[in-house]
């Protein structure tokens, strides 16, 4: 039946519009019965009594008034459902945003940004038909047929009995249709999304196909795949549509039976024309709401599948603990070391730890380099430092202050971060830089640009600093993005600096300039540096070597060269390489 309990709870949050919608819809049903009564009186008078037009003007006028009322009421009913739906959409959107910001960057990076923004944008919208059409229709498909049976009962018991006998068939068919429609919509949806996924894959790989000189022959495979998807889907649909065929037949055959049954009794004179015609007018409307429910089932299906996605996010547990912030006790950061004591972290929440028993001391005023093979836990370590996640076990202190005692916002204000793939916002370059410090003066801005070697790039742009970047704007390369991020760090000028492989995209000439300005930036700050390259590691005051979630070596460049281990062997490869 697609009545997801969590979705119904949302209806409970804003019950009034939905109740109003159903009440109005039911009232519309009652007016429908009134219309049928008026119409049968008019036609009976015209047909059997051969009355003049003037005698039925009153009835016709009444019919017109009821029609107008019904139009307004039906409209009001739908518009109320829409009002409730919009409230729910707004609520869900807010809840999702909050949840995503609570889950933080490790979550958004793990799930793929495209998918997540689709959920935020399309997922919430996909719920619209569920609330605005499907939910009210369920109530009406029970209420309106009931009304009609009550109206038919005094007019003709036999017909009311026929309706009542076919009525139990309806829930049976609803279940049947429900199941079949579910299979049909699922299959159809699957086919459509597989066809479109396949097509997207081919489009994205078009350059590759061209490189192998195979792009032209792909046309055939596109149509072949589409054809085979179509065949398999049609097979399923042939069966799935059978149940709605059955429902359709119940409705048409009942109408036929009632027509014949009444006709025969009219012959014997045991029923009059007026009630007979009244019943005939109402019979199709008895089955109509149910048939409509069948067509709206699609909306219901889409709603539940969208809901599944949305609640998957909403019910996720974050990795952040609530911190007991006491802002007054904030120590002077640059004087205090950051100390990790037996820190454990697991993304799955069980004992498969990404970080295991990590203890270290990050000295103030110096550069601590973090290195190790990929997957060693470097990123997790940084995520903990950035407080995007909190460890499950162990302690982190700033001097003697527990990190949990410092508000997350307060802590993050003290950090500048230069990630490996910085994000450039869809605004102008200037705004992208001012993000770091909205009160920065023009002079500070220029200085940051100079330090991060962005000058030539910016002057090559048509509108300089005010050039819009992002979608249609100037294409920003990875190296340029990293330099922008560097400039942001200069502007923010926070006491703790975290750099992730800071010069990985640039060419050698630029690297030298950047290293020089980096030395300037590092001055007087607690600096943590993730690095793979020798040139960036060797000058660090302390090097932490990570492997499989633990720190396996630590020391300075020269002390690490004394011992056998990852560091030395990685270096040997480099050496062999550059002298060849």
């Amino acid at each position: 039946m697609n009545l997801d309990r969590r979705l119904l709870l949302l209806v409970k949050q804003y019950p009034l519009p939905f109740i109003a919608s159903v009440v109005l819809g039911a009232l519309g049903g009652a007016l429908l019965i009134g219309q049928a009564a008026l119409l049968s009186s008019v036609i009976s008078a015209v047909f059997l009594e051969n009355v003049e037009l003037v005698h039925i003007v009153g009835l016709l006028g009444l019919f017109g008034i009821v029609s107008i009322c019904r139009t307004v009421i039906n409209w009001a009913s739908q518009s109320e459902a829409n009002r409730g739906t919009l409230k729910i959409k707004k609520l869900l959107h807010q809840q999702l945003l909050h949840k995503i910001s609570d889950l933080g960057p490790p979550y958004t990076e793990s799930i793929g940004s495209g998918q997540l923004s689709t959920k935020l944008l399309k997922g919430v919208e996909a719920l619209d038909p569920y609330f605005s059409q499907y939910i009210p229709q369920i109530a009406l498909s029970i209420l309106v047929p009931l009304f009609i049976v009550f109206a038919v009962f005094p007019a003709d018991m036999l017909t009311a009995l026929i309706l009542l006998v076919t009525a139990p068939l309806i829930p049976v068919f609803m279940v049947l249709i429900g199941k079949a429609a579910q299979i049909a919509t699922e299959k159809q949806w699957q086919t459509l999304s597989r066809m479109s996924g396949n097509f997207l894959d081919v489009l994205q790989g078009l350059t590759t196909l061209k490189l192998f000189g195979r792009s032209k022959e792909r046309v055939r495979s596109i149509s072949e795949i589409s054809e085979s998807f179509r065949h398999s889907t049609m097979k399923v649909l042939k069966v799935a549509f059978l149940s709605s065929l059955a429902l359709e037949l119940v409705s048409t055959i009942s109408t036929a039976i009632i027509a014949v049954e009444i006709g025969l009794r009219l012959l014997t004179g045991s029923i009059a024309f007026k009630p007979a015609f009244f019943i005939l007018l109402l019979t199709p409307d008895f089955y109509l709401p149910l048939r409509q429910l069948g067509t709206k089932f699609h909306a219901g299906m889409e709603g539940t599948s969208a809901a599944k996605d949305i609640f998957n996010v909403l019910e996720k547990k974050g990795f952040q603990k609530t911190s007991v912030a006491t802002p007054s006790s904030l120590p002077a950061i640059s004087k205090e070391p950051i100390i990790f004591e037996k820190v454990f972290f697991s993304y799955t929440g069980d004992s498969s730890y990404t970080l295991k028993n990590v203890s270290c001391r990050i000295a103030p005023d110096g550069v601590t380099a973090v290195t190790g093979p990929s997957g060693a836990g470097k990123t997790t370590f940084i995520n903990i430092l950035l407080r995007f996640i909190d460890p499950q076990k162990g302690n982190i202190t700033l001097g003697t202050t527990d990190l949990q005692k410092i508000g997350r916002n307060e802590w993050q204000k003290m950090i500048s971060w230069v990630p490996q793939h910085p994000y450039i916002f869809n605004t102008s370059l200037r705004e992208n830089l001012l993000l770091a410090n909205k009160d920065a003066s023009e002079q500070e801005l220029m200085q940051a640009i100079e330090y991060s070697c962005l000058g030539p790039f910016i002057s090559s742009l048509p509108k300089g600093l005010d050039t819009p970047v992002g979608e249609q704007g100037a294409g920003i390369s990875g190296g340029e993005a990293q330099r922008l991020s560097f400039a942001r760090a200069f502007l923010k000028n926070a006491p703790i600096l975290i750099l992730d492989e800071p010069t990985s995209h640039t060419d050698p000439g630029l690297e030298r300039q950047l290293l020089a300005s980096m030395n300037q930036l590092v001055e007087g700050k607690t600096t943590i540096l993730i690095a793979h390259r020798l040139s960036t590691v060797e000058n660090a005051d302390k090097i932490l070597v990570f492997d499989k979630g633990s720190i396996i070596q630590s020391g300075t460049h020269s002390s690490l060269l004394q011992e056998e281990g990852f560091y030395k062997s990685a270096l040997l490869v480099f050496e062999e390489d550059s002298t060849s």
Binding site: T71, I100, S113, F212
Partner: protein, 582 residues
């Protein structure tokens, strides 16, 4: 409207299917009308208490139409679904055929992944083109015509009266609501675009927003945009929700109007009273065909908008025209760039200016230089993705203008920094390079590329975009593909940048080994990391689109120019010196 006509032109191959489906739709609604008419006929006739056999015509009618309606509806649904799938497939083939000559040059100006996703979504949205845009008006016209003849057999007056109401339902209401909502849809689209980019900023820039303490501002902006969108949606819905009730109102008005004209004719005996009920019920039932029409205008707009976006892309001119007369691919694979200049569209400074370069067959050449020097442009031009603005490129003394682009690409094995793997099996991805390769060849090339572990799982799915493999594995897959293609020219464009030092070294060794096998292959390596440089016959140093130096490694070191300074920068402290300290 222009877009719609063009779309119709593309899918016109399926016009028989569409007509069939629409006719079935007409027959379905027609049977519904027939069922109610014959029911009304039975009741009206029986009210006059004739002998039983006079009812038999009506009884046969209800029996026939009652069954027909259900069965026809079933067939109609199947045919129209099948037609929709056919149309979608036709649209995809059409679009692919139009896009193929444009890639990759003309697609670079769009952010690739994003654009392609939008295209697929646009094509998907054309799913509604047949069932919601084309079919409903066709069916409605046929039903209206049916009623015209049915009522016309009583009095032309009735036909004209009903036609007015039908026309109002089909044209008047959609025009009216469409007019009121005209601006709203555009405004909603505008807000949605802003909402989309702000949401992407939120999701992708979350860490920056947190660290710069801007998260609250940004979320506030998102709430505001969403609220604005919902407000406009409300306005739109209030009008859209009028459709159904209004068509109901029109139906009742038609009933009133017909009763008005019919009653005098019944009372003066022109028309048999039996038909009062029959006509009125037929009029009511005919409006079923008009219910989907207002929605059709809405879908018409979305389809036209999707079509417009697709046509905009398709109508771009390809960057490289196909050759007028084709020459066969030369046996000698030397490469010559003669005075080549090239500027990318929408940029100001040239990527290459007056570049001349000669590479002999079998030679191993490295092209180096800082980023933005024009290294990759050389590959793009050689592969015929772009047309040089000036100068000529020769392969074995034949200008590539006179060579078929597909043949050129089949003869150049290339591995670039970004490797695209299709979401199929390892085998399928390899077969791309050589469709008739047997398993032994596949396994050999995998082993050669350092992926011997893959030889036992050829049929394993590589994941979406090959994401089940690591970056290094994907890169080595590309190398295996290149080996399998066995082309006489090999281009490595930053091919090993994503590999760790140890793997990089072994991969380079195996490629060099391959190139030295007779007949020797022409090798072109583009890199900014100066490693293993002594192995190249020639090193070409590019800066700002010009060649500043060329020669062998040791010659260039002696020159003490840009190459020497880049070398010393990357090797400024040789680890051997460091290690000897310990």
């Amino acid at each position: 409207m222009k877009e719609l006509l063009r779309l119709l032109g593309i899918i016109r191959t399926y016009h028989w299917w569409m007509i069939l489906a629409a006719t079935l739709g007409f027959a379905t609604i027609g049977s519904g009308i027939g069922l109610l008419m014959s029911s009304a006929y039975i009741i009206a006739k029986a009210a006059l208490q004739p002998p039983f056999h006079e009812l038999q015509l009506g009884i046969a009618g209800v029996r026939l139409f009652g069954l027909a309606r259900g069965v026809l509806r079933y067939i109609e649904r199947l045919v129209s679904h099948s037609t929709t799938f056919k149309i979608l497939s036709g649209l995809r083939v059409w679009f692919y055929e139009s896009l193929e000559p444009l890639a990759p040059a003309r697609l670079l100006q769009y952010k690739s992944g994003d654009l392609l996703q939008r295209i697929t979504k646009d094509i998907d949205s054309l799913e509604n083109l047949y069932s919601r845009v084309i079919a409903p008006p066709l069916t409605a016209i046929m039903i209206s015509a049916l009623l015209w003849f049915l009522l016309g057999s009583f009095s032309p007056m009735f036909s004209i009266t009903l036609l007015c109401f039908h026309a109002f339902a089909a044209v008047g209401i959609p025009l009216f609501t469409g007019h009121i909502n005209r601006g709203t849809a555009t405004k909603i689209a505008g807000i949605q675009a802003e909402l989309q980019s702000t949401t992407i900023d939120f999701v992708q820039g979350l860490s920056d927003l947190m660290l710069f303490n801007r998260l609250d501002d940004h979320m506030e902006k998102l709430y505001r945009l969403k609220t604005d969108e919902l407000k406009l949606q409300r306005k739109q819905a209030l009008i859209q929700r009028l459709h159904e009730p209004l068509i109901g109102l029109l139906m009742n008005s038609a009933v009133l109007a017909l009763l008005w004209t019919l009653t005098p004719q019944v009372s003066n005996g022109t028309i048999d009273g039996i038909y009062t009920a029959v006509i009125i019920i037929a009029v009511m039932a005919s409006f079923e065909a008009f219910l989907p029409l207002p929605d059709a205008t809405h879908h018409l707009e979305t389809s036209a908008a999707a079509g417009k976006r697709l046509f905009e892309i398709v109508d771009t001119k390809p960057a490289v025209p196909s050759p007028l007369h084709q020459e066969p691919f030369p046996a000698n694979c030397s490469i010559k760039f003669e005075n080549i200049s090239f500027t990318y569209p929408q940029t100001f400074s040239p990527a290459l200016s007056s570049l001349s370069l000669q590479i002999e067959a079998g030679e191993k050449v490295a092209i180096i230089g800082p980023s933005g020097a024009g290294k990759s442009t050389i590959t793009g031009l050689l592969l015929g993705f772009w047309k040089p603005s000036q100068g000529n490129i020769f392969i074995g003394n034949r200008s590539i203008r006179n060579l078929d682009a597909e043949t050129i690409r089949k003869n150049i094995g290339i591995v670039s920094q970004k490797t695209y793997l299709f979401s199929t099996s390892i085998r399928e991805n390899l077969l791309l390079a050589k469709p008739d390769a047997d398993d032994k060849e596949l396994k050999n090339s995998l082993t050669y590329a350092g992926l011997s572990s893959f030889t036992t799982k050829l049929d394993q799915w590589v994941g979406q975009h090959g994401m089940k493999l690591s970056g290094g594995e994907r890169q080595r897959m590309a190398i295996a593909r290149m080996l399998l293609e066995d082309a006489p020219i090999i281009v490595l464009d930053e091919a090993t940048a994503n590999l760790d030092t140890v793997t990089e070294k072994s991969v380079i060794q195996s490629i060099l080994g391959l190139c030295n096998k007779q007949p020797a292959k022409t090798l072109l390596v583009i890199t900014h990391r100066l490693r293993n440089m002594a192995q190249f016959d020639k090193i070409v140093v590019l800066e700002k689109g010009c060649i500043v130096e060329q020669g062998a490694h040791h010659e260039l070191l002696k020159k003490n120019g840009l190459y020497a300074s880049m070398w010393s920068l990357q090797h400024r402290q040789t680890p051997s010196e460091l290690l000897t300290d310990s």
